[in-house]
């Protein structure tokens, strides 16, 4: 996880600094290996890296038309997702950029079409696109809308969208930019250059969103955390830290910090983190709990905050291992479970098999391999992450508001284009 002040991990900073001077393909290759080696890890650093490389694709890659650009983004996107399949955020960012391009394209074509192309095509943009692909010679992209996020709405407009505030989350709601008009320029080159600059602007807005997301989520801290509360947090990430620190400005409460991973360390080794020192100096008590199960503490806990890597369309959460046990205990004791998620963590995918998203760890840290008979006969499974079932989370707090499970589909419609739901499976030309 990224330390919350620096924002980025050193590897990520080096990568971003090198983007300008290196050719696109070299940068892509570097990022793929950084992701594979988990040298860039954590959902936000991964998302930031993805948005930076996609910006380079838009700016540098050779393409003649919009479909060429979409294909390029899909190609790069697939490589990134395959490099780090456990971070939903990577695929989400790719879909956001694809959605951005499609939206600009639609605006462009609507205006362009009204002027010169036949009315039939304008009225039926889907058909127009297919005809065009056919002419250019690209294979027809498979766009089976199979995923759960698209359950009932596929129109770009929704009530959620109309009410969502534009300020601070411009990129968060694509419609925020619908006022920008594309000048009616004829000729492919001018048009594509125009589209490019529009898309680059849009990508920059996503970058800004990623910078601000923790701060925006922290804005809801006062409402959620009450004086004298006992808050149980599982695995701290930058979002949770910021959230608690913001609450500590106004409130005196107690934080139970459940540390699944650090419990493998020896007793007495731990030193207080900078985050804890800050909380303590603000008058907030912190208690680090080294128990593996936390049901014992639930009678005392008022609220559980889970740090998650990603949220699926049906409301399930990919979280550090141990989160399900905590969420189940909270459910059994009637304590609310809150998930803090930047919009970049919300994926339009639903996961039928919870195992597929799980990242597995090395058993060596738990079982000494000098014990030969253990190695040969005992099967050891060490999940690093696990899938928290949808029903176990009560509230999702994102940078644009507080949501329940039922709100997620409309958020997905607002942020992604249905055509990009399964871009990972799409085979580009």
């Amino acid at each position: 996880m990224a330390p919350f002040q620096a924002g980025n991990t050193p590897q990520l900073d080096i990568f971003i600094r090198g983007l300008k001077s290196h050719p696109l393909e070299a940068s892509t290759e570097t990022l793929v290996s950084l992701l594979k080696r988990r040298q860039i890890s954590g959902s936000r650093p991964c998302a930031i890296a993805a948005v930076h490389i996609l910006r380079q694709v838009v700016a540098k890659a050779p393409y003649r038309d919009v479909d060429g650009l979409i294909a390029k983004i899909q190609q790069t996107g697939q490589r990134l997702v395959h490099a780090q399949p456990h971070e939903l955020a990577v695929g989400n960012i790719v879909r956001r950029v694809l959605g951005l391009i499609r939206e600009e394209m639609q605006e462009d074509r609507t205006e362009f079409g009204g002027d010169s192309v036949s009315d039939l095509q304008t009225l039926c943009p889907e058909k127009e696109k297919e005809t065009k692909e056919h002419v250019v010679g690209l294979p027809v992209l498979s766009r089976a809308p199979t995923l759960g996020g698209w359950s009932h709405q596929s129109a770009p407009f929704s009530i959620m969208n109309l009410l969502s505030p534009d300020q601070g989350s411009g990129a968060g709601s694509p419609m925020g930019r619908s006022g920008t008009s594309t000048p009616m320029l004829h000729g492919q080159n001018l048009s594509i250059n125009n589209l490019k600059s529009e898309v680059l602007d849009g990508i920059d807005e996503i970058t800004d969103e990623l910078e601000q997301v923790d701060d925006q989520i922290a804005g809801y801290a006062d409402i959620q955390i009450h004086p004298t509360d006992y808050i149980l947090v599982h695995e701290l990430d930058s979002t949770t830290e910021r959230f608690l620190l913001r609450a500590s400005r106004e409130r005196r409460f107690t934080v139970f910090i459940a540390q699944g991973k650090s419990t493998t360390s020896k007793a007495g080794d731990a030193t207080p983190s900078l985050f804890q020192k800050k909380l303590n100096s603000a008058g907030v008590k912190t208690i680090n709990i080294s128990n593996t199960g936390l049901a014992a503490y639930m009678t005392k806990v008022d609220k559980v905050i889970l740090s998650v890597r990603g949220v699926t369309a049906d409301g399930g959460a990919v979280a550090e291992s141990g989160a399900t046990a905590i969420a189940q205990a909270a459910r059994a004791f009637g304590k609310p479970v809150v998930v803090l998620m930047g919009m970049y963590k919300l994926s339009p995918e639903s996961t039928p098999d919870p195992r597929s998203l799980v990242e597995w760890g090395e058993p060596e840290s738990f079982v000494n391999f000098s014990k030969g008979n253990m190695v040969n006969t005992v099967e050891v499974e060490v999940p690093l992450t696990e899938f928290v079932a949808p029903g176990l989370v009560d509230t999702y707090i994102s940078n644009i508001g507080v949501h329940t499970q039922d709100h997620l589909p409309s958020l997905i419609v607002d942020h992604y284009n249905e055509q990009d739901s399964d871009f990972v499976l799409t085979i580009p030309a």
């Binding site: 493998t264 009678t299 008979n373 499974e381």
Partner: protein
């Protein structure tokens, strides 16, 4: 008993107990130089073992206490002008008990055993001489260890092994002597009975690792999960897409059973029981009838113990928890639903 503040213990750091847990007890190391002069050497050694957690399981501690008290009894002489039954308890027995409970809070079965012993002492005729009184007590304790511990162990194991059927996928948490013996007995006694075991462990305690090793050496197909991570999603009821069979039973060793039917167990047991309940898998608790207590606890913070090794401003850990999600309790006097804990309690009190 209250003692002067320990100045230079083996730990340099002073334990920090958060206010919301300040009502809970904690083991502490008492340097031999600061102990009561009346503490018997055997009890002194036992106390050190308990406070250093080299002897942890409740039945082991109970047995150790009884054996040490046998030594205390045999080396005791009633002073002139007093009788054994009047003098022994306040002047010889109580200092031992005070010392032991200062080293580590007594487990419920130890408390029951001490009360039982005091009752036996009070029943000794005041005219009986030392030799006679000691012989009676030694025999009582001998019988207690045989009947209430050794035989009870065997009965629990035989009763519990009957619950293990061919093809079962058993989940257990940490290690418990009754669970270990039950699994090994079920393998040896049951002809052609084939079952597999997944040992879920506490990554700090790691006692489950030792159990997993023993089980696999005994020839049981064993899996090991170092923590509760993935318990519900992979171990208890894996998704249909995978070939891993769904587990069929959870076997937990109980530290004690409360009269309201809740189980006092190693910290983490309640999480395992809860996850099993949510997956619709029965939870079987193994417990000596002597470990049943007339106390009641609905939550884990009523009775508990703080880990003395992890009680700093950077770490905190509880040693036990309480769960109400038990399906069946297997005891040496038979199987019982947890709600009937009171009946089990009555049965041993009558004996």
């Amino acid at each position: 008993g209250s003692r002067p503040e320990v100045k230079s213990g083996p730990r340099e750091k002073k334990p920090v107990i958060p206010e919301c847990f300040s009502h809970l007890s904690m083991a502490k190391r008492i340097p031999p130089s600061q102990t009561d002069k009346d503490v018997h050497p055997a009890v002194l050694a036992l106390g050190q073992q308990m406070s250093s957690f080299s002897l942890t399981d409740s039945i082991g501690r109970l047995q150790g206490t009884l054996l040490a008290l046998q030594k205390v009894i045999s080396s005791y002489t009633t002073p002139q002008g007093s009788s054994f039954s009047r003098h022994f308890t306040p002047h010889a027995l109580n200092p031992q008990i005070d010392y032991l409970s200062a080293c580590r809070p007594m487990c419920f079965c130890m408390g029951s055993a001490v009360r039982w012993l005091k009752l036996k002492i009070s029943k000794i005729d005041t005219d009986a001489d030392d030799l006679e009184a000691k012989a009676v007590l030694q025999e009582e304790i001998e019988e207690f260890i045989m009947a209430r511990i050794a035989l009870a162990d065997a009965s629990v194991v035989v009763n519990a092994a009957e619950h293990i059927k061919d093809g079962d996928e058993i989940i257990t948490f940490g290690s418990h002597r009754l669970v270990e013996s039950t699994l090994i007995w079920a393998l040896k006694d049951g002809e052609g009975k084939s079952f597999s075991v997944t040992v879920v462990d506490d990554p700090i305690d790691k006692s489950g690792l030792v159990l997993a090793e023993k089980l696999s050496e005994a020839g049981i197909k064993t899996k090991y999960a170092p923590s509760l991570g993935g318990l519900s999603t992979h171990i208890l009821s894996p998704a249909a897409a995978t070939s891993t069979p769904r587990s069929t039973k959870v076997l937990l060793g109980a530290e004690s059973m409360f009269s309201n039917g809740t189980m006092y167990g190693r910290a983490g047991s309640s999480d395992v029981a809860l996850a099993a309940k949510m997956s619709g898998i029965p939870v079987i608790a193994l417990c000596h009838s002597f470990s049943f207590t007339e106390r009641a606890a609905t939550d884990s913070l009523t009775y508990n113990e703080i880990d003395p090794e992890r009680c700093t401003d950077q770490e905190f850990r509880l040693l036990f928890d309480v769960t109400g999600d038990i399906t069946t309790v297997v005891t040496d006097v038979g199987n019982a639903p947890p709600r009937s804990a009171m009946c089990v309690l009555k049965r041993w009190e009558d004996i």
